[in-house]
């Protein structure tokens, strides 16, 4: 009896030793050398795995950062400048500070200004709807309102407003990762500079139809009248195919175009409330 126990223990020990040796040499032979810095960079990153940087996830981005020579073109929209500074510091490189951006919805045709001309009863998805037809209003460019952007957002920053049928961006939560920009089949959402104190001006319409057609479909459409272009002192506004576009790098936030726009298609965000001109005149008269 004891002989069997001793024999078993001995044979298992020998077997274990032999296998351990084989494993040791195999591990030596096929060793994958990984830069230890990748792990460290990964711990600095926020770990949202949103893909906003263009890589498949935070690990891939960390690998990309370590392997790249400079930090050009590498940016983590979630972590922003702080995280990028830390990463650059760790890797011993310099990084240029990026202006913070935010997602902007360039359609303001709500249920009142852009009446529905037909009912969509298919699957709730903008992508499916866009593949079927031009949309349930007369505007071929406008928001379809099925909420693909809301689904795509990892940060709960964009939400459909059931009252207007349009998505609304929460600037606090938005990291400008660009997921909604990719998700929108109508390409309505754009990443724009957040601006000083969040102040920004943009054309909230992408309708490229001629003025009459656009206006007929939606009361707040850009009709390409060029009034804003004429009033702009900084050459920030360009008009191509009946649509105005404000270059956020040139815009000095003077708000002249906002007043000038006959259809209220130009939006100002985070500005103090303006006293209507009429009211001012009335007060002066009194």
């Amino acid at each position: 009896m004891t002989a069997i126990i001793i024999f078993t223990i001995a044979s298992l020990t020998v077997l274990g030793l032999v296998l351990a040796l084989i494993l040791y040499f195999t591990a030596q032979k096929f060793k994958v050398v990984e830069d230890p810095r990748i792990d460290d960079v990964e711990t600095i990153l926020p770990g949202a795995n949103c893909g906003g940087c263009g890589f498949t996830g935070c690990r891939a981005f960390a690998e990309g950062c370590v392997k790249a020579e400079t930090m050009d073109g590498l940016f983590c929209p979630v972590g922003g400048n702080d995280v990028m500074k830390k990463v650059a510091e760790y890797l011993g490189r310099s990084v240029e500070e990026k202006v913070p951006q935010v997602a902007v919805v360039r359609c303001n045709g709500n249920c009142d200004s852009r009446p529905k001309s037909n009912n969509y009863d298919g699957y709730t998805s903008c992508a499916v709807m866009a593949s079927l037809y031009a949309g349930d209003t007369d505007c071929r460019y406008g928001c379809l309102g099925q909420g693909d952007c809301e689904l795509s957002c990892d940060f709960d920053a964009i939400k459909m407003n059931p009252r207007t049928g349009l998505p609304e961006v929460d600037e606090e939560k938005c990291t400008a990762c660009g997921a909604c920009v990719k998700a929108c089949p109508k390409m309505i959402i754009e990443l724009r500079n957040k601006g000083p104190k969040g102040k920004r001006i943009f054309v909230s319409c992408i309708n490229k139809d001629k003025g009459g057609v656009a206006r007929k479909a939606c009361a707040v459409a850009c009709i390409g009248c060029t009034k804003c272009q004429k009033v702009c002192a900084y050459d920030a506004i360009t008009i191509s195919s009946n649509l105005a576009y404000i270059d956020y790098n040139k815009c000095k936030l003077c708000r002249k175009c906002v007043v000038e726009c006959p259809t209220n298609a130009i939006w100002e965000v985070n500005f103090p409330v303006r006293v209507p001109k009429k009211a001012v005149a009335e007060v002066e008269q009194q």
């Binding site: 001309s117 037909n118 009863d121 298919g122 699957y123 998805s125 992508a127 499916v128 593949s131 079927l132 037809y133 031009a134 949309g135 349930d136 007369d138 071929r140």
Partner: protein, 445 residues
């Protein structure tokens, strides 16, 4: 014994309520809206200008590119404008708008009702004539017929299959022309056989149209021994190209392949009639038979209608908009396209206008998949729709390709049988487009 395809298929109620309505001529409208994109491929290029006088049948737009087709005026009058107007799905397409003045046809068109049986043209001349007259496939996809009839070098057709199945519920336009223009269709088939150089042709007709089968057989036995009439089982999608080939000659079209890869060319009976009219009567394709139907309509009728008639005028011709009509469909209920603008006009391949009530069109609330595999049984292409749906929602493109999403023919059988009302077709169609784009962007070997 009726033939049928080997896998899948469903049996929707055929609802052919307009089956006994003889074809009537639709009154010519006041204004015709003729689209430049009535075919698959590049839009045609207008050759008339604003203010020009045109006659019925006159060439108004030339084919632009290899896959394209000529467009002819369907009315006579003055060109009012050439502008971008929405088509039935609301996308802007170039249209030629013509104010109608009388109805003066081109002199070269033979308008007699006599049947011209004498074939004098060579195969080359037939194909040229078809191209010149702007004939497109009238089965739905509107692929230019002359391209289909000239197989690429190295490939040869053995059979010409003609699709008279009309498996879509409600539609009766093909049935009516098979009854009323039987011999013309047979001559058209013969012309296409000559053009292709094939010896044998089959016309497949579903067995729920016994009168058409009988009449076709009767006339074919009198002078067209090379054309065989095949009775097919009533089963959707019997008229699908790949299903028809499987049912009649038992060949399988390979994945991403064309029927010509297995030596077959498929045409529709409507196309055969158009070919006859083009070659024997010199008449370009500018009118076709359209079924205006729906259970909510006071009457259901079959019209011979000019291209460019608005859907609005079609509805008013049969007594106006019924109160309970909720959805307008151009084509059949399975594969037709919803009409979102009634001011849009018909095109060459418009086969029907169907009005459905809310009750008939309402989709049920989506529930969880219960793994009943009804969709797998129904899929005529042998795919697994429940799986493709899940992969599509997760956007797993590689897995979608491995599961052959690009073989989907978008027949809608899976959606029809699903007890959980899962929007299978919607998600699959979207990922099919995505996968096809990736496959086509790959460098060719």
């Amino acid at each position: 014994m009726s033939k049928t395809f080997s896998i899948g298929g469903i049996h929707p109620h055929d609802n052919k309520i307009s089956i006994n309505a003889a074809i009537e001529n639709f009154p010519v409208m006041e204004r015709a809206y003729i689209s430049m994109s009535q075919h698959l491929g590049a839009p045609a290029e207008p050759v008339v200008a604003k203010g020009d006088k045109v006659k019925t049948g006159q060439l108004i737009a030339k084919a632009n590119g290899f896959i394209s087709a000529n467009v002819h005026s369907s009315v006579s009058g003055t060109v009012n404008s050439i502008e971008m107007l929405p088509d039935l799905s609301g996308n802007l397409v170039q249209h030629i708008v013509i104010n109608v003045e009388g109805d003066e046809w081109e002199e070269s068109i033979d308008r007699s009702s006599e049947i011209n049986r004498k074939i004098v043209h060579s195969p080359k001349e037939i194909i040229d004539k078809i191209a010149e007259c702007g004939i497109v496939g009238l089965g739905g996809a509107a692929f230019p017929t002359h391209i289909k009839l000239s197989p690429p070098p190295g490939k040869k057709a053995d059979y010409l299959l003609v699709n008279g199945a009309e498996c879509e519920p409600y539609l009766t336009s093909d049935y009516r022309i098979m009854l009323e223009n039987t011999e013309e269709i047979l001559i058209g088939v013969k012309l296409m056989m000559l053009a292709l150089g094939v010896k044998k042709s089959y016309i497949g007709i579903e067995e729920n149209k016994p009168k058409a089968i009988k009449r076709m057989k009767e006339i074919a036995s009198k002078g067209y021994p090379e054309i065989k009439i095949v009775s097919l089982k009533k089963r959707y999608p019997q008229g699908g190209e790949k299903q028809l080939i499987d049912a009649i000659v038992g060949r399988q079209v390979p994945s991403m392949g064309l029927p010509i890869d297995v030596g077959v060319v498929v045409q529709n009976v409507g196309t055969a009639l158009a070919v006859y009219e083009a070659v024997q009567k010199n008449k370009p394709l500018f009118e076709g038979v359209v079924t205006v139907t729906g259970k909510c309509m006071p009457e259901q009728r079959n019209f011979r209608m000019r291209v460019g008639t608005t859907f609005e005028s079609m509805i008013f011709a049969v007594g106006g908009f019924p109160k309970d009509a909720e959805k307008l469909v151009s084509g059949g209920p399975m594969m037709g396209k919803a009409v979102s603008r009634i001011e849009a006009a018909s095109v060459k391949s418009t086969s029907a206008l169907l009005l459905l009530t809310l009750e008939e069109t309402k989709r049920g609330e989506e529930a969880n998949c219960i793994r009943c595999a009804k969709c797998v049984d129904a899929c005529p292409m042998g795919l697994e729709p429940y799986l493709l749906n899940r992969l599509s929602r997760a956007n797993r493109v590689e897995d979608l390709e491995a599961n052959m999403v690009h073989d989907c023919i978008e027949c809608g059988s899976c959606l029809y049988v699903c007890p959980s009302d899962i929007p299978l077709l919607d998600t699959i169609r979207l990922s099919k487009a995505k996968v096809l784009k990736i496959i086509r962007s790959r460098p060719k070997k």
